[in-house]
Symmetry: C2
């Protein structure tokens, strides 16, 4: 069993929180909807959930493509989540991940890496799966391919 | 329908990614397990998932206690997640949230706020619920109470 621990401290009398892991890495959270200008001083918790998914699958891709001796020059991930408006709770029911890979990279290898990450290994993806449909696009040197989960 | 969008860019040839929301707020992610010293330059994606939960329920508590005219001097949230070791995927199967509230605050009001957040409103909590058992403790001015989900 592995145990992960994090802490969050509220800043003053606001909805702004500072989250921290045991190594002292910080992230700012805020509820932008509570502010008159709609601009928060941090991520919303649900944005952070999408970033968690992008990071999880991003590390998988970096690892799998590296082991496959693909020369990746750049890797960018865009994550989009749709959720119902005006209700609480409001869970993502559809999440779409776009992987943009540049370099001397075989598109079939990228497809396989996405298969392994979203289809098999990524813990955040598997956590979201019971409540959200997850789809993906991978874009290799500017050419886009729709990803279909393996059989 | 509300749509949230975030992006992540890989830093050089590493497992370090910078995540960003449309307002330009950033968070650093990394896979510490890949580093010889075990110290990453960012959060792990699964740590970030716990922070997302803590932020979601933290905003709920700040909001509910504020509306209830409780005078909260400090609010700190600790989130702990247990997951199996050495397998992929490795989802949290148990998550425990500790809410530490100081101020002129009625413990029954804090209990009610935790009921409403974890039991009802918090979207991240509801996303984790199919795969994790979520428990909580609330500590008011140093006195700890175990939280039991309402009926």
């Amino acid at each position: 069993m592995a145990r992960l621990e994090v802490t969050l401290n509220r800043v003053d009398d606001t909805f702004h929180f500072v989250g921290e892991n045991p190594q002292g890495i910080q992230v700012h959270l805020d509820d932008a909807t509570s502010r008159p200008d709609g601009v928060g001083l941090g991520m919303s918790p649900m944005q952070l959930l999408l970033i968690s998914l992008g990071g999880c699958s991003g590390v998988d891709l970096a690892s799998i493509l590296g082991k496959g001796r693909q020369k990746v020059d750049a890797l960018r991930i865009e994550v989009r989540g749709d959720k119902p408006d005006g209700v609480a709770p409001s869970l993502f029911n559809a999440v779409h991940v776009t992987f943009r890979v540049d370099g001397e990279v075989d598109p079939d290898r990228v497809k396989r890496a996405v298969d392994l990450s979203l289809g098999k290994y990524c813990s955040v993806s598997k956590t979201l799966e019971p409540t959200a449909t997850i789809t993906a696009t991978y874009v290799v040197n500017g050419t886009a391919y729709e990803w279909e989960p393996a059989g």
